[in-house]
């Protein structure tokens, strides 16, 4: 955040009310189940959604892992319209035969996100002069000027910036994948056509905000036992425009815990024989249970290499966008 203090001072001098507020989950990512159109699915492996036992498998010798982070913080109010500073970053860390992860790509952006009409030209120039990118959030469709909705609009903008970064990085990553190398993406492949079409790219989805199945198929998918997977189904629509093949996979026994405990959904590019690829990929993803990504609260679904990429990204992120753990004031309920 080089030079942020100067432009902030200028903003405050120009009438922006200082603020310091880190919204919940600003340091992490949340699913946006409500935004995407409902996907349609088509079973492509079995006639009926089945549960298949996994065959243990070893991962490929070289696998790259892609993940991104976003952090943001409200630094001021123009009237009641929030102005936020955001940091988004993504990285690809590649695992070699020695099992160690090394950074192949890293990129970060620092943005100032605000409602379109809250930053005039002078203020914009002050921010851009400090080397920050200015992004206008979507206008409040209701036009009511509700700060809560404006805040949500800022959050979407930050998420979009992070996704763009991930998408671009993913595209570059698959372009450079060697013949036997794979790319595992944290999240949906369908956000990028390049990723969704690459034969050695895998999306691992650990948030299940949007369900792709219903009825008995949904029940069977969500109760799949540990070390089992479901049949492969093809996903149309949803977040992406490119069709992908997908299936559920249970890493850890869920009985006695939660329905989603240890449950991940896999996405791979649409293929001619989906049932042939799923056992092998499932086998080596199951082997990724170890190393355990604890103490991360999502350790049951979070693959350790993805956790590693997150850790790497956080270690390089500026510290001033996080809520200070040492604040003397109790956290507010905003």
């Amino acid at each position: 955040m080089t030079g942020r203090r100067d432009w902030l001072t200028a903003l405050y001098a120009a009438g922006i009310t200082p603020a310091s507020f880190v919204p919940d989950a600003s340091a992490g990512r949340v699913a946006d189940p409500d935004e995407a159109p409902a996907p349609t699915v088509e079973l492509v492996e079995d006639d009926e959604l089945q549960v298949h036992a996994l065959v243990p498998g070893a991962p490929p010798a070289v696998v790259a892992f892609l993940d991104g982070i976003q952090q943001w913080k409200v630094v001021g109010y123009d009237g009641v319209r929030p102005i936020a500073v955001a940091y988004v970053a993504a990285a690809v860390r590649q695992r070699g035969p020695d099992g160690r992860l090394r950074t192949a790509q890293w990129e970060a952006r620092e943005l100032v996100v605000a409602a379109p009409d809250s930053l005039d030209d002078a203020r914009r120039r002050a921010i851009e002069a400090a080397g920050l990118e200015v992004v206008s959030a979507e206008a409040d469709p209701a036009g009511a000027g509700q700060p809560g909705q404006a805040l949500e609009s800022l959050r979407r903008e930050v998420r979009r910036a992070r996704q763009t970064l991930e998408r671009d990085m993913g595209r570059r990553a698959v372009e450079h994948l060697a013949k036997d190398e794979w790319l595992v993406v944290d999240g949906q492949l369908a956000i990028s056509a390049a990723l969704a079409r690459h034969p050695r790219a895998i999306g691992v989805i650990k948030s299940h905000g949007a369900e792709f199945l219903e009825g008995r198929h949904l029940e069977r998918a969500l109760t799949v036992p540990a070390a089992h997977r479901t049949s492969v189904f093809r996903v149309h629509g949803g977040h992406g425009r490119t069709e992908v093949d997908s299936w559920y996979l249970r890493l850890w026994p869920w009985e006695g815990r939660d329905l989603y405990y240890g449950l991940i959904r896999i996405e791979v590019a649409r293929g001619p024989d989906p049932g042939a690829r799923a056992p092998g990929i499932s086998g080596w993803l199951f082997a990724e249970r170890a190393t355990l990504s604890a103490p991360d609260a999502r350790f049951d679904r979070l693959l350790y290499p993805i956790h590693d990429v997150e850790t790497y990204l956080r270690s390089r992120a500026p510290g001033d966008l996080l809520a200070s753990p040492a604040s003397r004031l109790p956290r507010t309920g905003t």
Partner: protein, 668 residues
């Protein structure tokens, strides 16, 4: 010597091996800092590292360091190391591997690991203001860095360098000579060296041999002359210092790096007392090829009387006895003395003293003058006579009843010469006597500046025995304390060695400015004296290989590990294999050998003819006289001192009175 710090215009910026980190829990301070490295690193415990606060050498990068830290350089030595992963609980690893350790090995991704090191600051440049260590890059130290870090630049360069190589600091493929400051090793600024280590690894003796060789070769001429006196107290340890030992190429390379010539000592003189027979030397250096090089160490009354306290225990020496011994020393010995009964005496030997005692007792008895002689009670005189008369028996071979003594070359000590006194096979009382007298002699001559050299290094092994932390206040312990506390003013330097430093008198150890540690026993390392060392340093000390030492020196703010080449002299064990000790010679042969050493052209038969049927004590006396006078014509003087042969007088038959009544005729 080593190169001066330089950085030419074409030099590439050094590659950092680590980076200083500071957290609230582990902050950087002016005396300690932490840094991380790659998991595969050459950094280890004892490694010397350099931290650059920024500016030059930092690749021009900015960040992570405050203003004013540009150009600040901090040197540190690694004292502890930590490795950990992001594993929050061991249980997580168990869960990940489903309780099967074999599966843990099969995990496709290796956990993120850290190698975190703790380093103690050796030096900061500039030294003022003293600040916490900056969060800069960490580099392995070069030769020049090591010199700066250990403040060796002050005595390594300049018009009058005083550097004595002690070993090579090795780390990460780098190898830098480490030097001690002669002014702090031999005096006058500080002095003395103490070396500790477990027995049997040849570390202590080897280190001292190497260091003495380095001192002899590097002791600066402007500091004068130096000699060494070594007490060989066990086996053949120091008996072959003049013989070349086997060296490997690695040793020769280290010698070359330290600029020390890998050669045995040029000038070594060996001294040993006789055995009880008075003619065979009490040493293991008796092989025919070397026998002539050992000089006898024989003392008489005059040499021993001043050290009666050593020879007689506390119960023997009360105030009265002490006063009488002082009287003898001051008024009687080596003086023409009248006993008050008409007898004139010149007491130079125990035999002369015995004659004086007899004269006193006879005189008192004849004169009937009671129990007092010259204010001394006859009981005191008898007691002293009894105790002193016993000395030559208890120290037979070292102390002679009569005849001349053979001593160290007082006043003629030579520069760069080692004087080895072999007391390994002498009984403890004799060892104490030798030690006390030699050290006293050195001190007295150095005080008068007439020893022949300006400084003497005295090497004493087994300080656990001679200067124990507890136990009685012996004369030897007092001598060692005296050297430790006053020696540096005189040029009398103690190089002491022991197995358990914690059990040596604190003042003896504490006054040693230079401390050297070989492999240490774990129990010893658990004693309070080692609390300043980190657990990692203790572990390293407990597992040190032969040839590696930890050195503390006044210029070094932290202990430094160095490696030294094996000494260029023949090790004692190898020496006795190459030169097996000879069997004790018969009396005649031993006398011949003693004389032949003075005159190699002498014909043995002539000597044998001379001593045939002669009293052995007469022969020993004559031999001693010849040894002391070292005449041109050895045989002639020996013959003269032996005196003319006196024909034995046959026993005359005494006229006996016949019994009047032979017993045999008695009926009963």
């Amino acid at each position: 010597m080593i190169e001066r710090p330089s950085q030419g215009p074409g030099d590439l910026p050094p590659v950092p091996v680590g980076r200083v980190v500071a957290t609230e829990q582990k902050p950087a301070t002016p005396h300690q800092f932490h840094f991380w490295t790659a998991t595969e690193t050459t950094v280890g415990i004892g490694a010397i590292v350099k931290v650059q606060g920024g500016g030059t050498g930092d690749g021009g990068r900015v960040g992570g360091r405050g203003k004013g830290e540009e150009g600040r350089v901090v040197y540190g030595v690694v004292t502890d190391g930590f490795a950990y992963s992001d594993l929050a609980s061991p249980l997580h690893d168990v869960i990940g591997a489903e309780g099967d350790p074999a599966r843990a090995r099969e995990a496709p991704t290796a956990r993120a690991e850290i190698r975190l090191w703790t380093a103690a600051v050796l030096r900061q440049i500039p030294e003022e203001p003293l600040q916490p260590v900056p969060l800069g890059d960490v580099h392995m130290a070069s030769d020049a860095d090591v010199a700066q870090a250990l403040r060796m630049d002050a005595y390594l360069h300049g018009a009058r360098p005083t550097a004595i190589p002690v070993g090579l600091y090795t780390s990460g493929g780098l190898e830098s000579p480490v030097y001690l400051d002669a002014d702090f090793l031999v005096g006058p600024e500080a002095a003395h060296l103490n070396i500790s280590g477990v027995s049997g690894l040849a570390t202590k003796t080897s280190a001292v041999e190497f260091l003495m060789g380095a001192i002899f070769q590097h002791f600066p001429p402007h500091r004068g002359s130096v000699a060494a006196v070594c007490f060989n107290v066990k086996g053949p340890d120091l008996l072959f210092l003049d013989q070349p030992g086997a060296l490997e190429d690695e040793d020769r390379r280290r010698y070359a790096r330290l600029a020390v010539d890998p050669a045995p000592f040029e000038r070594v003189r060996y001294f040993a007392p006789f055995k009880a027979d008075g003619v065979n030397l009490n040493t293991l250096r008796t092989n025919a090829e070397l026998a002539g090089t050992v000089e006898p160490l024989v003392w008489g009354l005059t040499e021993v009387l001043d050290f009666a306290e050593v020879l007689l225990n506390r119960d023997d020496i009360d105030a009265k006895a002490d006063a009488f011994i002082d009287f003898l020393a001051d008024r009687v010995v080596r003086r023409d003395f009248e006993d008050g009964f008409g007898g004139r005496h010149r007491v130079e030997t125990f035999a002369d003293l015995e004659r004086l005692f007899r004269s006193i007792f006879d005189g008192l008895e004849m004169a009937g003058r009671g129990d007092i002689w010259r204010t001394h009670h006859i009981a005191t005189i008898r007691k002293v006579r009894n105790r002193l008369g016993n000395v030559s028996t208890r120290c037979k071979g070292l102390v002679t009843d009569d005849g001349p003594s053979s001593d160290l070359p007082w006043g003629k000590f030579a520069d760069r010469t080692v004087y080895v006194i072999d007391v390994a096979n002498v009984d403890p009382l004799g060892q104490d006597l030798v030690f006390a007298r030699v050290v006293s002699g050195l001190r007295e001559h150095l005080e008068r500046r007439d020893l022949g050299v300006d400084a003497v290094v005295v090497f004493v092994d087994e300080l656990n025995k001679y200067a124990p932390a507890d136990g009685p206040e012996t004369y030897v312990k007092k001598m060692l304390l005296d050297i430790s506390e006053r020696g540096r003013y005189l040029g009398l330097v103690l190089f002491g060695a022991e197995q358990f430093r914690s059990q040596v008198h604190r003042r003896v150890v504490g006054n040693a400015a230079t401390q050297v540690f070989g492999r240490m026993d774990a129990d010893e390392l658990a004693t309070p004296g080692y609390q300043v060392l980190s657990p990692a340093t203790k572990i390293k000390l407990a597992t040190l290989p032969i040839g590696e030492l930890m050195v503390r020196h006044p210029h070094f703010t932290q202990p430094i590990f160095v490696r030294f080449p094996r000494p260029a002299v023949l090790r004692g064990r190898d020496g006795v294999e190459r030169y097996p000790p000879a069997e004790d010679l018969p009396f005649e042969e031993a006398v011949v050998r003693q004389l032949a050493r003075l005159d190699p052209g002498m014909r043995p038969n002539q000597v044998k003819d001379l001593i045939t049927d002669r009293d052995e004590s007469d022969v020993r006396r004559a031999l001693g006289a010849v040894r002391r006078e070292r005449p041109v014509d050895v045989l002639a003087l020996f013959r003269k001192r032996l005196g003319s042969r006196v024909a034995p007088e046959g026993v005359r038959e005494r006229a006996a009175v016949q019994p009047l009544n032979p017993i045999a005729e008695e009926p009963y």
